[in-house]
């Protein structure tokens, strides 16, 4: 561009190059053309859809979220009844999807890493068992696994009146696992603050410990101290408040238990299905990551006198994570997306609630747009976090 300008100026005011001979300008014209074309196509499709919907007299717009939903939802993290709006019902669905995905991701990471390491174990039995697990759970479609777990819960467990009662305050039946929780006490709020404060203190202790180790080489037992602070502080507050121990215990009343907290078979089946299925893939990712670090690294680390735990955390993992994170991200995204299979086993996730909403209002396009937008947000948030983490642990090449 720069050069061309000087060229034309060099020739004087008379310009002989037409704009279609200039590749830069030409490409701008092309881009405007394509944008216009796509825009026109989009306009045509949207206006056509709208006029078709109108011709069939199907309602449009997102006004329905304000209307009363008039249907009940099986489980909800926030208070909800049939008198609430569709909007609130959809929020209940989003929260249900989030909680199952979040707990699922945490458990999957744990189980998957464990299995991945076990697969590489020098113990023949352990590595074979891990291999069998991975092959079996990887190869069975997730939907079948969900049906299996769900049927397992409702076929094996007894009815509420014959509920299993292993410990005081805990009941296990085909309505779910119902257990007592501590009755609310004002000290709990302060305990929460203490926990958060503990996290802050630990952050500074870690920084101080690292600096000290860099200077003097003397290690500090960060883990033990952290655990002590995290649990010790709230415990101290609890004792100071006079150790409130009133419990909200479930009691069988009529058809079901009243009080306490229950984990439904639908939730448990969905969680188990997702975790066991995805963990098999995560295990393979972890194994591949660890194997990508050459054996010489381990030997070198051991040669300079690091303990086995330190070999893993200081030498192997930082290099393995680089390989593990990207495929791991896609597995975690899969877990979130697969949670939409919940509708098959009756867990009221977002897709299930949105599906009922679509059916009740007849506004399929708006409903599907909402479903896609929500899952896209989940996925983008997950991958944004994982990308940030990936960048953070990237090897610093010197």
């Amino acid at each position: 561009m720069q050069i061309k300008h000087t060229e034309t100026e060099g020739h004087g005011a008379r310009s002989t190059t037409f704009f279609w001979h200039d590749p830069d300008k030409r490409s701008i014209v092309y881009q405007i053309g394509v944008t216009l074309l796509v825009g026109l196509l989009g306009y045509y499709l949207i206006s056509n859809t709208l006029s078709n919907l109108e011709r069939q007299s199907i309602a449009t717009g997102f006004g329905f979220v304000e209307k009363e939903s008039a249907f009940e939802i099986g489980e909800s993290l926030i208070s909800y009844s049939a008198a609430d709006s569709y909007g609130r019902a959809l929020v209940v669905g989003v929260l249900n999807t989030l909680i199952v995905s979040f707990i699922g991701i945490v458990l999957t990471l744990f189980l998957g890493t464990l299995l991945g390491v076990a697969r590489l174990s020098t113990n023949w039995l352990v590595s074979r068992l891990a291999a069998v697990y991975i092959e079996v759970f990887q190869d069975i479609p997730i939907l079948l696994q969900l049906f299996f777990w769900y049927a397992f819960f409702y076929e094996v467990l007894p009815s509420p009146r014959q509920a299993l009662h292993p410990f005081a305050g805990i009941f296990l039946c085909n309505r779910g696992l119902i257990f007592g929780i501590p009755e609310y006490h004002s000290a709990f709020k302060i305990m929460g603050f203490a926990f958060v404060a503990g996290c802050g203190i630990i952050y500074f202790i870690r920084r101080w410990a690292r600096e000290r180790q860099n200077k003097t080489g003397e290690p500090f037992p960060v883990f033990t101290v952290s655990a002590g602070i995290l649990f010790g502080l709230p415990l101290l507050i609890w004792l100071m408040a006079g150790a409130p121990s009133a419990m909200n215990v479930p009691v069988l009343k009529g058809f079901n238990f009243k009080g306490g907290v229950s984990i439904t078979p639908e939730f448990a089946a969905l969680l188990l299905g997702l975790v066991f299925y995805t963990a098999a893939f995560v295990a393979e990712v972890v194994r591949a990551g660890i194997q990508s670090v050459s054996r010489g690294q381990t030997e070198a680390a051991m040669a300079i006198g690091l303990k086995p735990g330190q070999v893993l955390s200081l030498v192997i993992l930082p290099q393995a994570l680089r390989v593990i994170i990207p495929p791991l991200t896609s597995q975690l995204l899969n877990l979130t997306k697969n949670s939409s299979l919940a509708v098959a086993i009756g867990y009221p996730d977002f897709v299930s609630v949105a599906g009922t909403t679509i059916n009740q209002t007849g506004q399929a396009i708006e409903g599907v747009v909402l479903i896609m937008a929500v899952y896209l947000c989940f996925s983008l948030a997950t991958s944004a976090f994982m990308n940030w983490y990936n960048k953070k642990i990237k090897l610093v090449e010197r």
């Binding site: 011709r55 007299s57 009940e72 009756g346 599906g355 896609m372």
Partner: protein
């Protein structure tokens, strides 16, 4: 925002493919068969038998439309649909007629872009419950866990019923009818709620049908009617009068057995109905013998009812509201002239 636009575009393509059609009758004639949406899992209404032949009241209704249009009741293909997918399938043009035990409601008839025709089964919602729970009335269901299909009027009715009676409920919502029934039989729910006809069908396939009772309360009106897309009046007339022809035939005493003799009848009503005196067929844009074909190949409403859901079937449902108006029921056909 960009994403939302993209979604709308993607969807528009789908919507476009569905609705850019001239008229359903011409489309159906061009492809040579009728695509009907049915239940697929509901014994007595729409379900393939062990040989894979579709059977049921709704299936026969679709066959009647095929007989009227093509003179051949077998020129119909069936698409099994869930409660959630049925309206979208019709709206998008995937099917030509929806005969899937579907309740006519105001919002479906208007905002959802459907048009309902003559009701082919008058139903009402009830509760199926294991005898061993000792419940005698739906008023004792406070705190019960209720198995229910999603995306049905049932889901709404049951919530309404519990709200008006001031009781609490805990729904378990499973999309697939068979899976829902399995969960109910295994005791995941205290009761199953659905249209009474469906409850009879579910009980008929229970491991031990005698262990279940249907509670006496009927908590809703469920006029089950076939539906077509809104705005195609010609096609709506054809489907409507196909259903009415079966009812009218029963009123006139015409059955699949005696329809050939009835062609010789001197009764002007019967002569007009069977197309011996022409006029009705032309008005609908069909063959003059359309009603004859329906009755000959499918039967009158009474025959269809008794064959699929009547007292001699495993469902054992009495005519009740579905008897002719002359027998104290609601089935009534306008004159065919």
């Amino acid at each position: 925002m960009k994403f939302v636009k993209l979604c709308i575009i993607v969807f528009a393509v789908v919507a476009l493919a569905g609705v850019s059609m001239a008229g359903t009758l011409d489309d159906v004639k061009a492809k040579g068969f009728i695509q009907a949406g049915v239940n697929g899992d509901l014994f007595g209404f729409g379900k393939p038998d062990e040989k894979g032949v579709w059977r049921g009241l709704d299936v026969d209704t679709a066959r009647a439309v095929a007989a009227a249009v093509f003179g051949d009741a077998d020129k119909v293909k069936f698409t099994p649909l869930t409660a959630k997918t049925r309206f979208t399938a019709l709206q998008s043009g995937e099917i030509d007629v929806l005969t899937r035990n579907c309740t006519q409601t105001l919002s479906r008839d208007t905002a959802q872009g459907l048009d309902f025709v003559q009701v082919n089964y008058y139903d009402g919602q009830g509760f199926l419950i294991p005898k061993k729970l000792g419940v005698k009335s739906a008023k004792e269901l406070d705190g019960a866990t209720v198995c229910v299909l999603p995306g049905t009027t049932t889901e709404l009715n049951v919530a309404d019923y519990f709200r008006t009676t001031g009781m609490k409920m805990n729904p378990v919502v499973i999309e697939n009818t068979a899976e829902l029934a399995k969960a109910f039989f295994a005791g995941r729910c205290d009761c199953l709620t659905s249209d009474a006809s469906q409850l009879a069908g579910t009980r008929a396939v229970a491991p031990n049908p005698d262990e279940y009772i249907i509670l006496p309360e009927i908590i809703s009106k469920e006029p089950l009617a076939p539906a077509v897309r809104h705005g195609d009046n010609k096609w709506k007339d054809i489907v409507n009068y196909s259903v009415l022809a079966m009812i009218n035939a029963e009123e006139l005493g015409i059955t699949s057995k005696n329809v050939d003799q009835m062609l010789q009848s001197k009764d002007p009503k019967i002569k007009r109905f069977l197309g011996v005196t022409p006029g009705n067929g032309k008005a609908l844009g069909l063959d003059e013998k359309f009603a004859y074909n329906i009755i000959k190949q499918v039967g009158n409403y009474g025959e269809v009812f008794e064959r699929n859901v009547g007292v001699n079937t495993p469902l054992g449902i009495a005519r009740g509201l579905n008897a002719l108006w002359t027998d104290g029921g609601l089935m009534y056909s306008p004159p065919f002239k």
